[in-house]
């Protein structure tokens, strides 16, 4: 049970919620959130958008009943959070190229922040694609070396990956598949997968993702996978 510090609407349907929390949290990990009894039945996986001691932040889009209920919570209300779960993005020391699409930008903020903390010398370039309106872009501008923003277009049309860069991407599966496809094989690419989840901890096998090395659990073995593991055909 965590207490909500703030829960603000950034643009219609996009909310940013901060809650009391202290613990070890990696970029790309997620929490299972619930602020209801049995309707809906399950908790909802939401990535870590930002974290500092005492404050955990989520960025989420209202798409259905669960996120709708979350959006109505007010500071001081309780929300059940379980986590952090999942492997998260690996720590790298190479230059970083981050590609986010839509609400897929949610985990990338904490990723870039941590990267820059660990690699003050490293270069971090960020591609962000939105369908209509952008959000959370300024935060990237203050952290990253370059931010390429695209609204209404196809962000991968602009994507140019530099030799030696590691690529990390989160967004619609189509976007990630496109990134996986176009980035030269010499660059490492990490993708953050989505799946419907029930338990979030590896017990139900509901979130299975086929990989080159057999079924993997998105919640436990993922959500972050190497490109060649999941887009291997």
């Amino acid at each position: 049970m965590a207490i909500i510090q703030s829960n603000d609407c950034l643009i219609p349907l996009i909310y940013k919620m901060s809650v009391d929390f202290t613990g070890a949290v990696l970029p790309g990990q997620f929490f299972m959130l619930r602020a209801w009894d049995k309707d809906p039945l399950l908790s909802r996986p939401i990535s870590v958008h930002d974290y500092e001691t005492g404050q955990l932040t989520f960025l989420y889009q209202v798409v259905g009943k669960g996120t709708e209920i979350l959006s109505r919570l007010k500071p001081g209300d309780n929300v059940e959070i379980q986590g952090p779960y999942g492997n998260g993005f690996p720590e790298v020391s190479e230059d970083l190229c981050v590609v986010g699409g839509g609400i897929g930008v949610a985990p990338l903020h904490y990723l870039v922040k941590k990267y820059k903390e660990k690699n003050p010398q490293g270069t971090c370039r960020v591609y962000l694609g939105f369908r209509e309106n952008s959000y959370g872009v300024e935060a990237f501008e203050s952290m990253a070396d370059e931010v390429i923003l695209d609204i209404g277009g196809i962000i991968t049309n602009r994507l140019k990956v530099n030799p030696g860069e590691v690529v990390m991407t989160c967004g619609p599966e189509m976007l990630m598949a496109a990134v996986a496809n176009m980035v030269p094989p010499e660059n490492k690419v990490y993708v953050s997968m989505e799946a419907h989840m029930a338990c979030g901890i590896g017990a139900c096998l509901g979130c299975t993702c086929e990989t080159k090395s057999g079924n993997k659990k998105v919640c436990k073995d993922g959500p972050v996978f190497l490109r060649e593991e999941v887009f291997y055909e």
Partner: protein
């Protein structure tokens, strides 16, 4: 700890009647982060098959009002890998481990059972009721004759007591239960998931690749309770009931309907601590009601 929840199921002593259901509890390890598994009356493994199984493709989970549909399709590492990787850990947990066994035909059931004779398990749950696999599975469980046949063969071969897990999707469930009892089953568990369907109207297609999938969770509780009552009236062997049980009050209702133990499935996802809270709730109930053992209210309806 008081003994008011101690329960004999056939000849097996459970420290309490609360067991985690197959397929919702992995092989137990994941829940060790939440509580000590020894608190449970028992736990039931994910359904195991002779060979490893990759399970179904496509979407595997879908929420419905107060329910969950799943189409996992018995993904599991196979009996050998289970014996090698999971059993050494599980066998040392101080609780009853029930091994859930599925199959695609008679031969695969029997070979799996034979292999399990090598381990020192306490109870086999024979799953003839999975609606998510094409061959075998539910096909055996929807008719009294086939259910009795396979049970008989498995019972003869197994060195462990066998509890048969029934499907709510077939013929009158009390008749199937009776056929299993006659065939030598030492217990009945029910219900497996109800066959349902989901459609994604936006995509204009069925949600699940298999078209139909299995429904569980609180939505099905009234049906599970009715079937439990029917089966308890029909057989003399003990019954392990499940289907939407989420609180100690629910558990109590199933016990009043005649169940010896209960299993909790889907609600593990809603609240990982649910089984432990249920055990505590039942204990307090016994104290308040002055029951020296929970069995005193069993089958009173």
């Amino acid at each position: 700890m008081s003994k008011c929840l101690e329960t004999m199921f056939n000849e097996i002593l459970f420290k309490n009647p609360v067991i985690s259901a197959s397929g919702t509890f992995g092989f137990g390890r994941e829940y060790e982060a939440f509580y000590d598994l020894e608190k449970l009356g028992g736990l039931c493994t994910k359904g195991l098959t002779l060979e490893p199984k990759a399970g179904n493709k496509g979407i595997r989970l879908w929420e419905t009002p107060a329910g969950l549909m799943n189409s996992i399709g018995l993904e599991n590492p196979g009996i050998d890998a289970f014996i090698k990787n999971e059993w050494p850990h599980l066998k040392d947990v101080n609780t009853v481990t029930i091994i859930n066994v599925g199959g695609k035909d008679e031969e695969s059931y029997l070979k799996a059972i034979e292999k399990l004779n090598a381990v020192d398990a306490q109870l086999i749950e024979l799953n003839i009721s999975c609606p998510n696999v094409k061959a075998g599975g539910m096909a055996y469980g929807i008719k009294a004759t086939t259910a009795g046949d396979i049970t008989k063969k498995v019972v003869e071969l197994s060195k462990h007591p066998v509890m048969v897990k029934l499907s709510p999707n077939g013929d009158a469930i009390s008749e199937i239960a009776l056929a299993c009892e006659i065939a030598g089953a030492k217990g009945i568990s029910l219900i497996n998931t109800l066959q349902g369907m989901a459609i994604d109207y936006k995509k204009k297609s069925a949600v699940f690749n298999n078209l139909y999938a299995g429904l569980s969770g609180p939505a099905v509780k009234p049906i599970a309770l009715r079937m439990t009552h029917q089966v308890c009236q029909a057989v003399t062997i003990p019954v392990m009931a499940m289907g939407g049980i989420s609180t100690w009050e629910d558990a109590l209702e199933f016990i009043m309907a005649g169940a010896t133990c209960i299993q909790m499935g889907t609600m593990n996802f809603n609240n990982p601590m649910a089984p432990v809270e249920m055990i505590e709730g039942l204990e307090i109930y016994c104290q308040k009601e002055g029951l020296s053992n929970i069995s005193e209210i069993r089958g009173i309806i």
